[in-house]
């Protein structure tokens, strides 16, 4: 799926969070790195219309994220830094089903798709668990399942391995690597994006580097060392 930024700029209360960005993304695995406050989350949120460009435009598969907001958002799934915040209903299976119910699907299909997505991520045993009681790794998997059940073509993950132990970090790395969907990962975990197709480095609201992982990570290390 093609994501195109055309002079996309974001300003918050007069401060520029993202300077005019011209970019086209179509790779299957894209990493975004940068120091805190560098504009990487703002850039990612532009993709599914959570943030609107102050100037310029962003299109997802040809759909403008402002003019065709709903359709564009339907093509992208977003996993927040704290995935607990996006689990809206108390029981996991009900939370997953709720996303489908809002799309007007029949009960039988909702049940079938909920079961299928839980099995896909090997978390069927968590179906009746309360979401606030899930561990960090379980919450990440549950959040990914709850977003992918609606069938987006693109999944954006904001720091998915943040605060996870080594075991759960490896689990999320394997999961991300196995996803057939296009994936964009914002992360400080450089190991996670080593095998990616393309890595973008943001610094002070600008795209500072854009290349294969090894070169981009090198550029990021230089920025971080300054």
């Amino acid at each position: 799926m093609d994501i195109v930024f055309t002079a996309a700029t974001v300003r918050y209360a007069g401060r520029v969070a993202l300077h005019p960005l011209d970019l086209a993304l179509s790779e299957r695995r894209i990493g975004i790195v940068g120091l805190n406050g560098s504009g990487k989350t703002t850039m990612a949120r532009l993709i599914n219309g959570l943030v609107k460009p102050t100037e310029g435009s962003v299109t997802v598969d040809g759909l403008d994220t402002v003019a065709d907001e709903k359709a564009a958002r339907g093509k992208t799934g977003f996993i927040f830094q704290n995935p607990q915040h996006q689990m809206i209903l108390p029981i996991l299976a009900e939370d997953i089903a709720f996303g489908l119910k809002n799309r007007g699907l029949a009960k039988a299909e909702i049940a079938e798709r909920t079961e299928a997505i839980l099995s896909r991520f090997n978390i069927a045993y968590l179906a009746r668990r309360r979401v606030h009681e899930l561990s960090g790794g379980e919450t990440q998997l549950a959040a990914i399942a709850s977003v992918l059940v609606t069938g987006p073509d693109l999944l954006i993950l904001d720091e998915p391995t943040n605060q996870l132990d080594l075991k759960n970090r490896a689990l999320i790395e394997r999961t991300v690597a196995s996803l057939p969907e296009q994936v964009i990962v914002i992360t400080h975990d450089l190991a996670l994006i080593e095998g990616f197709d393309r890595v973008l480095v943001f610094h002070e609201g600008r795209l500072a580097a854009d290349s294969r992982p090894a070169e981009a990570i090198g550029a990021y290390r230089k920025i971080a060392a300054c």
């Binding site: 599914n48 959570l50 709903k70 958002r73 339907g74 799934g77 977003f78 927040f80 704290n82 607990q84 915040h85 996006q86 689990m87 809206i88 209903l89 108390p90 029981i91 009900e94 089903a97 709720f98 996303g99 119910k101 809002n102 799309r103 009746r128 309360r130 979401v131 606030h132 709850s146 977003v147 609606t150």
Partner: protein, 201 residues
Amino acid sequence: MLNALDIEGDSPLHRMPVRGKLVLLFSAAVGLFVVSDLRLLVPALALSAWLLLSTGIGTGQAFRRTRFVLFTVLLVAAANYVFVSPHEAAVVFCRLAALVLLAAAVTATTGISAFMDEIARLLTPLERYGFVRAADVSLAVGLVIRFVPEILSRYRDIAEAHRARGLPVRPLTTLVPLIILTLKDADTIAMAIDARGFRRH
């Protein structure tokens, strides 16, 4: 009371439609407050207890779920015993305890999702006249139930942080950060609702 406390089962209450259960609960609430005869209230309390246990919840779990409210009911009854009469205390206890147990039985047999659907259906007529957005109200109810444990957990964290710093846990110094952090979370949650396409308009 509906904090994901429903248990799977096939009891008569499980099979009863959500609307039927809410009507039953509402009628029981009205009925129990009209009646003051212990010959009716004691059997009503026994029936409520039986209904709760018939859900397959188990005595221990049933007690754990209702003990806090029942303790409060007991305090109210004790106050009536001291200030009014022993008979009035018994009436108040039977009346409120019966209602608590019946509500717990409804809770144990009703999933939050089904409950939200019913709220949305009940409010749909009001939506036609532009008074409410039924789906939003049901979503709000779901959110309240979902995030109560989060807020409690955050309160515990703040209280623990106070203790770790050797500070006394005072309402003002715990509630202010709790409110600020909760409001901050609310922004992210609102964004997540949009991101997941939960609102239809």
